[in-house]
């Protein structure tokens, strides 16, 4: 009777197709973060404004207290700008270690020795940050709109506000990608996720403090573009057709955000390599 070798078997299964290989990285990143209870608590906290607005919608539309709060484009814009604080915190928690931890553990050579490209790796990591920043912005933003449409018994609300879906998606995407790309770039700059988190806070919060201090000293509102948050708010005003919050050209804000995102892409692309070459 033959004795079978149970120690090592050759494998002859089917390979998955390459175009979705980045999804393996995104899926694993999401699964790892979803195991952290503190992060789940943070995600739940970030949904509280959404729940509050659901109640407001119910009171204003279903209970008929129209004067309680006007349900128009501004209602949705305010919700998204209100979520900015949570997106910053979630970005730090979910994104600061995405590349930094891999650099620290020398994991890049493991990733890139497999059948994936540098682009797959970057898209996979970006996917993790994008997923978690989508949860408090785009997803509840669209749900809120659907809820508002459902609460209204006639089609008048939809006829008047259907266009709001586009700015909800547009502003959400600006929030999502600006946060995700900046935190990923900072994460790729150092082996310490703490460094990335602190630097991200500096970029987001300290830029606002700097703008406030300089604005007060020089008695001008034209420096509002210095703060990333203001740039995002200004873009939201343009998209939702609201009165501009700051005395700055939206073009300046838009260009600054675009520059930040492109700069982040450049940093990530140049930092993520399988071989570290010391010239």
């Amino acid at each position: 009777m033959p004795i079978h070798d149970l120690s090592y078997q050759h494998w002859a299964g089917q390979w998955t197709s390459h175009p979705y290989r980045w999804w393996v990285i995104t899926r694993q990143g999401i699964a790892l973060l979803a195991k952290k209870k503190s992060f789940l608590v943070l995600l739940f906290l970030s949904l509280i404004p959404f729940l509050v607005r659901c109640v407001i919608l119910y009171v204003a539309v279903v209970m008929g207290r129209i004067g309680f709060m006007k349900i128009d484009a501004k209602f949705f814009e305010d919700f998204l700008t209100q979520q900015l604080f949570f997106t910053f915190i979630i970005s730090i928690y979910a994104g600061a270690g995405l590349i930094a931890n891999d650099l620290k553990a020398n994991a890049l050579q493991i990733y890139l020795s497999k059948a994936i490209t540098r682009r797959d790796y970057l898209i996979g990591k970006l996917g993790v940050a994008v997923f978690f920043v989508t949860l408090p912005t785009l997803l509840p933003g669209l749900l809120l709109f659907l809820l508002a449409a459902a609460f209204h018994s006639d089609l008048e609300f939809l006829q008047q506000n259907a266009w709001v879906v586009l700015p909800i998606i547009g502003l959400s995407l600006i929030i999502i990608f600006s946060n995700a790309l900046i935190i990923l770039a900072l994460s790729s700059l150092n082996r310490s996720s703490r460094f990335a988190g602190i630097f991200f806070a500096a970029v987001i919060f300290f830029s606002q403090i700097l703008e406030s201090v300089l604005g007060a000293l020089l008695r001008t509102g034209s420096l509002a573009w210095l703060a990333v948050r203001n740039d995002i708010v200004q873009m939201g005003d343009v998209m939702f057709g609201s009165r501009l919050s700051f005395q700055v050209s939206p073009w300046v804000c838009g260009l600054l955000l675009a520059g930040l995102m492109l700069g982040s892409v450049w940093i990530i692309h140049s930092r993520v390599r399988a071989v570290e070459v010391v010239k």
Binding site: D5, S7, Y8, Q9, H10, W11, A12, G13, Q14, W15, T16, H18, R21, V24, I25, Q28, L32, G97, N101, D102, K104, A105, N106, A107, Q109, I110, Y111, L112, S113, K114, A115, I116, T117, A274, V275, V277, V278, K279
Partner: protein
């Protein structure tokens, strides 16, 4: 041909790290030998497509190293030299993840991860976080992630680094088993000659980015000509001068022993004939086998000269 590289040159800035290296590997197990900084890791990384060579090209498993890197990496396993893992995972998740990155389906990858972890001796520790592993266990997990997708060829970069003697022997036995019983071709990069001698049949010696010697280890040990240890009674200087006239090298050893390197294909018959001609008695004659270390030092020495 498993690996066929022609004239590979790699530069980092102004520094030439590989200088016109040729590699031919028919399969089995090959040791990549050289001192630290010789260019061994760079050669492996070039084979994996991490580094684009300045010139040269070739194929790995019949696929072009310059244009089919993804296809190559699907068929090749790589165990890096330094400590590396994917943070926040236990061993089985890590190895399964490595399988999925190569293109295995999640269920296949998970089943295979369990099998491989048992094979490398981490079966009992497979649910422990990799970050808590000892150095020996980390070496094994690196081997497991390189094997999970059942590669046809595996690159092992200093697999015994940091291991105690027992761990080193276990790792070498594992590598030997992979290459001899499992039909996986192995390229073992090491600066430790006994490791290469233990596992491999072929060797490629690299020094300062240049290929110095290549071939079957037994052939390399034999050297350019046969070497004999010989002790004679009689006119030793006449015996030596006759051999030196034929192009052989004679070196003095201990206890009156002469170490004779024969020229080219000359055999021991020439030696016996010289003794007869000079009427000396041969009291001791022993064919010598080089150790790989001697071969290595010899080729490195030749390069220095």
């Amino acid at each position: 041909m498993i690996i066929d590289l022609e004239n590979i040159t790699v530069e980092f800035g102004k520094q030439r790290v590989l200088d016109g290296v040729n590699v031919q590997f028919d399969g089995g197990s090959m040791g990549l030998l050289g001192p630290n900084g010789a260019g061994k890791t760079t050669l492996l990384k070039t084979l994996l497509g991490f580094i684009k060579p300045l010139s040269g090209g070739g194929s790995v498993l019949g696929m072009n190293v310059l244009s089919q890197q993804l296809a190559i990496r699907q068929k090749v396993g790589y165990m890096p030299e330094n400590d590396c893992h994917i943070p926040g995972m236990n061993a089985v998740t890590f190895v399964a993840y490595a399988g999925q990155l190569t293109g295995m389906k999640p269920t296949d990858a998970m089943r295979r991860a369990h099998e491989i972890l048992y094979y490398v001796g981490l079966g009992e520790a497979r649910y422990r976080n990799v970050e808590t592993y000892s150095t020996g266990m980390k070496q094994r997990i690196k081997l497991a992630q390189a094997l999970v997708h059942d590669p046809q060829l595996i690159f092992l970069d200093e697999p015994t680094n940091g291991l105690d003697p027992k761990g080193r022997i276990e790792m070498l036995e594992l590598v030997k088993d992979i290459s001899t019983s499992k039909g996986i071709n192995v390229i073992l990069s090491s600066h430790l000659l006994p490791d290469v001698e233990w596992v491999c049949k072929d060797a490629l010696v690299i020094h300062k980015g240049r290929r110095l010697a290549a071939g079957k280890i037994d052939d390399l040990k034999r050297g350019a000509g046969s070497v004999f240890e010989c002790r004679v009674k009689g006119d030793v200087s006449a015996f030596r001068s006759e051999l030196e006239a034929l192009g052989c090298q004679c070196l003095d050893g201990d206890d009156g022993i002469i170490r004779i390197r024969m020229k080219g294909e000359l055999s021991s018959h020439v030696l016996l004939q010289a003794a007869r001609n000079r009427k000396v008695q041969i009291r001791h004659l022993l064919p010598m086998r080089h150790s790989l270390e001697e071969v290595f030092l010899e080729v490195i020495g030749e390069q220095k000269n």
